[in-house]
């Protein structure tokens, strides 16, 4: 039986198919202006990969931006729940999830059963989100990934505004004009993001192990800065951190489907 999860974010969209508790296929795309278009394109892609048709999917859950508009999803679940569910599946030792998305940052705490305990979210300010990195990378004239790699080569990080993305860009121009190396400035940027994220984490507290999810979690420079500031063991995930939301959605799809089956069985009985 096939279950599907689709997660449309502000920058990327992901779809994932599961069968018998295994991941069958997954795909990530850059978002289109319309969430329904993004969801449809990315879902068509995983179906094509597997040679399946939409009708082969027993149940589909959507999450993320515009999750209630996705026509082929039978149900929608919040990103918070999906990231909790997905990260716990990818590693049972995870208790804290730091999801740095394109336009927000969430810290989610789960218990030993993977159930939600507490969460905190910043979606009001671009600092501490993927948008921060995107904007800063533009100032450097680089791609986000190259910025992370550059930071890994940095020696002494420069002190950079941790509060506002706009001012960070100005700080960067000044440091570069002063002749500081690109590497040191990039390292300052990743540390600024980590300091900012840590302030959010402090609101719910850290319980080991900590998993980083979302697209930013694939940026080695950022992850290194985060690990340094949290000084806590980082969980290894069996799944691409960017897919965790869609994975959680697929797991909810299965749960929801089984619940429905049980209900129907009771009604028949």
């Amino acid at each position: 039986m096939i279950f599907a999860g689709v997660d449309v974010g502000s920058l990327s969209a992901e779809a994932l198919l599961m069968e018998d508790g295994k991941i069958l296929a997954s795909h990530i795309i850059k978002v289109k202006p319309n969430p329904v278009t993004s969801a449809t394109i990315v879902m068509d892609e995983v179906l094509e990969q597997t040679g399946l048709a939409k009708d082969d999917i027993a149940f589909c859950v959507s999450t993320g931006y515009g999750r209630e508009m996705i026509p082929f999803a039978q149900h929608d679940v919040s990103e918070i729940s999906c990231h909790g569910k997905g990260a716990f599946w990818a590693n049972n030792d995870v208790r804290t999830i730091v999801d740095i998305g394109g336009q927000d940052c969430k810290v989610i705490r789960i218990d030993e059963n993977g159930d939600l305990v507490d969460f905190v979210m910043n979606d009001k300010c671009a600092a501490g989100t993927g948008r921060f990195l995107e904007s800063v990378a533009k100032t450097f004239g680089l791609e986000v990934w190259d910025l992370g790699d550059l930071a890994l080569k940095g020696g002494e990080a420069v002190p950079i505004s941790t509060i506002c993305t706009v001012f960070t860009n100005f700080d960067i121009m000044c440091f570069l004009a002063e002749g500081r190396s690109k590497e040191d400035v990039a390292k300052g940027v990743t540390e600024a993001l980590a300091i900012r994220t840590n302030r959010l984490i402090a609101n719910v507290g850290v319980e080991e192990q900590v998993a980083f999810t979302g697209g930013v979690a694939k940026n080695a420079g950022v992850v290194k800065a985060l690990e340094k500031i949290i000084s806590s063991k980082t969980a290894k995930l069996s799944v691409d951190p960017q897919l965790i939301g869609s994975l959680g959605a697929a797991l909810y799809a299965q749960e929801r489907y089984e619940k429905m089956q049980r209900k129907q069985a009771r009604q028949v009985g």
């Binding site: 202006p33 336009q103 009001k124 300010c125 671009a126 948008r131 921060f132 904007s135 505004s161 509060i163 506002c164 993305t165 706009v166 001012f167 100005f170 121009m173 000044c174 004009a177």
Partner: protein, 257 residues
């Protein structure tokens, strides 16, 4: 003659004061290089006034770039400069608000222009001039045109983003939705005014209320702010952006050190 310079994050402003009389002013983009901006001030002063730095009674410097000032300069705290300048412009001034590219400051002063208290926002661009620079890109206009553009607005829009970065995305999606540039621009100026008002409420406003700085050269922003705070505002003259530079010159003590 005294020279006052305000090295802002966006523009460097310079004035020459003969006693209480403003005799010359000049401005140049700072371009993240305060040293170069200061050189530009000296060469303009030489070319336009035939004055060398040695011929001055004293030189005062304020603003973000004041940290690079070398020997011979007196560093003047921005809040002190604001107080003196407001009092120079309007002796009855008791509250001074400036909003520049990256910083907004509100100061409460006494009858001599001395500072009683102040509050500052230099941490977030939501109420700063830089916000407008960012928004102008998707709107394809200049900051100087925003006032006229906003006045052509015929429909009230509400912006939900407070963050300048998110506001830019919101503007892009409003443009894609087919909203008119004038209406979007008007909504953006509303947002900026609201954000500056948040800071302004940290000080009890006493009349008279003087405003200055690059952002408050925009009359629409001043009108909205004045309405939000329910106070009458006097925009610093001869030019809102000169307030701190004039204050820096007025704060210069004695002759050359």
């Amino acid at each position: 003659m005294k020279l006052g310079v305000d090295i802002g994050t966006s523009m460097t402003k310079a004035v020459l004061m003969e006693g209480a009389e403003l005799v010359w002013w000049f401005s140049v983009p700072t371009e993240a290089n305060p040293g170069k901006a200061m050189e530009a001030v000296f060469s303009a002063m030489g070319e336009q006034r035939g004055l060398a730095p040695e011929a001055l009674e004293g030189m005062g410097v304020s603003g973000w770039g004041a940290k690079v000032a070398s020997e011979g300069w007196q560093k003047v705290e921005t809040v002190l400069a604001m107080g003196k300048a407001a009092s120079w412009y309007l002796p009855a001034a008791r509250t001074v608000l400036t909003a520049g590219a990256q910083e907004s400051i509100i100061v409460s002063i006494d009858e001599r222009g001395s500072v009683i208290g102040y509050a500052r926002n230099d941490k977030c661009a939501s109420g700063a001039g830089r916000f407008l620079d960012i928004i102008c890109e998707p709107l394809e206009c200049e900051v100087a045109d925003m006032e006229a553009l906003a006045r052509q607005s015929t429909k009230k829009l509400e912006m939900s983003a407070q963050c300048a970065v998110f506001a830019e995305s919101e503007v892009v999606s409003r443009i894609n939705d087919g909203e008119a540039a004038a209406d979007i621009c008007n909504a953006v100026l509303d947002t900026v005014a609201r954000n500056v008002a948040t800071l302004s409420r940290k000080i009890t406003a006493k009349p008279e209320y003087v405003v200055g700085g690059g952002l408050l050269s925009n009359a629409v922003v001043v009108e909205r702010l004045s309405k939000l705070l329910d106070v009458k505002m006097h925009v610093f003259e001869p030019d809102a952006k000169l307030i701190t530079a004039i204050g820096a010159a007025l704060c210069v003590k004695g002759g050359r050190p």
